[in-house]
Symmetry: C3
Amino acid sequence: MQVLKVRSRQREELVEITDRVKQALEDSGEQEGVLVLYVQHTTAGLTVNENADPDVPRDMLHLLRTVIPQHGMGFRHGEENSDAHIKATLVGSSVTIPFHEGKLLLGRWQGVFLCEFDGGRERQVIMIVK
Amino acid sequence: MQVLKVRSRQREELVEITDRVKQALEDSGEQEGVLVLYVQHTTAGLTVNENADPDVPRDMLHLLRTVIPQHGMGFRHGEENSDAHIKATLVGSSVTIPFHEGKLLLGRWQGVFLCEFDGGRERQVIMIVK
Amino acid sequence: MQVLKVRSRQREELVEITDRVKQALEDSGEQEGVLVLYVQHTTAGLTVNENADPDVPRDMLHLLRTVIPQHGMGFRHGEENSDAHIKATLVGSSVTIPFHEGKLLLGRWQGVFLCEFDGGRERQVIMIVK
């Protein structure tokens, strides 16, 4: 088990952690199996998506903000971050990625992102290889 | 492998199962690994989110109902529960949570919920630890 | 580890792969554990949902297209497929399904689908059993 601390700077932000995850897998010495990342928070998620063009994360946050606005929806939760809780559940709190011969089997355009929906904060991600 | 029977009472409801999952992990005697929960239904899902304020689940169901209404969308599926199928896919049919020294690594505010979108019913959740 | 090649024919399509996944599990000879499927693309996902009535996948794609339209949202990503990236993240890049005595523990109405959001193309799905 490893723990990754991930720092976000804005309320909504996709923070790429691909290189850190690859390094952590290498450090584990494991060769075959699946890598699980799990975020220990209720207003952040994890996803795999394109890491080449920064407009992809930008468009994703823009769409989610449009469909699930922070205000004006009649939300009752007093923290004014119900939108962030909902986005976290839709994106999901974990990602599972296979690896082979010690290498993460990401596709050519895939990167791993912490999805921050109520930052900036330090977030904690647990990594397990099996 | 263990099977959890979960009873919902309303058409849409987040039923917390955290304590039952913790107990089932303890019963398994496993100390290190990941716990997988899987729901064997197509109109219910599983998620991890805040279990302190009941307004968080309430706001989540409210938003999903607004964006994915049961009626008026031109759905063709004759059961009149296409909204429930779609919500189930967006939330997901499984959650994967790491554990360490026999304890589930949930964050401070995290609980585990069965997401009922077409109840009330009895639902079946499979639990595996690896 | 096995690799499944999946062919889609339309821009948006749910391609059922249940039988191929069951066969691949049988070929593995494994009896107890979890099966992980992982799609190596950023504009396609994987889900478990109803495979009896084709109107369920149809309604799902219809709703997603309504809420996350390809055009007119102010997307900046030049490939004109930001909608597909977002749908892929919401549906998710992997599914995890338990199996017991060599049989996948799908519920009565559950099938496994590759969710194509920017096809038709050949897609690659990695399968691992643990």
